[in-house]
Amino acid sequence: AQRVTQPEKLLSVFKGAPVELKCNYSYSGSPELFWYVQYSRQRLQLLLRHISRESIKGFTADLNKGETSFHLKKPFAQEEDSAMYYCARVDSSYKLIFGSGTRLLVRP
């Protein structure tokens, strides 16, 4: 089965600390991977896609095919980063398969 795994339900860090949200996928080919974020009372929005290799709000994510991972990282967390983060990949029919999500809590 094509799966996206986010092992952590909750990740709590202090402001200014580094953050790494883990994501692993099961797929043998070249996946199209995304990170979506949902801030409190806001709609789900795209944060990053791996093919663009960009940094958004200080977040980066690198595709590691050897480890089948697409971890989301930020060197210095801010309180406004507190949100629900979902890793997802697109299947051959352009359907998004979501991980279970990780709640990031950045404490002051």
Partner: protein, 111 residues
């Protein structure tokens, strides 16, 4: 990009009734999808709404329970039929252009 609106934003319904959720996209899109997000859970795809043909349902979802319409390239509806409390959830519409965008969701509570 695509801006997606949904109506209603929330509703409280009695069991046994049906609710139709509308999804409007600000541009023509080929692909539209409906997702469900149960309390404390991730998003699960219900179906792909195909313009001009029947929707394609995922395992565990059937047309009789979740009929979908897609009359044109900017609009779709999802009906939750014969509702039970287990249908209480957030229902999200999504459209794909360069990437996939989401509506604000419809929060449904079934009593």
């Amino acid at each position: 990009s695509a801006v997606i609106s949904q109506k209603p934003s929330r509703d409280i319904c009695q069991r046994g009734t049906s609710l139709t959720i509308q999804c409007q996209v600000d541009s023509q899109v080929t692909m539209m999808f409906w997702y469900r997000q149960q309390p404390g859970q991730s998003l699960t795809l219900i179906a792909t709404a195909n313009q001009g043909s029947e929707a394609t349902y995922e395992s565990g979802f059937v047309i009789d329970k979740f009929p979908i319409s897609r009359p044109n390239l900017t609009f779709s509806t999802l009906t939750v039929s014969n509702m039970s409390p287990e249908d209480s959830s957030i229902y999200l519409c999504s459209a794909r252009t360069d990437t996939q965008y989401f509506g604000p969701g419809t929060r449904l509570t079934v009593l």
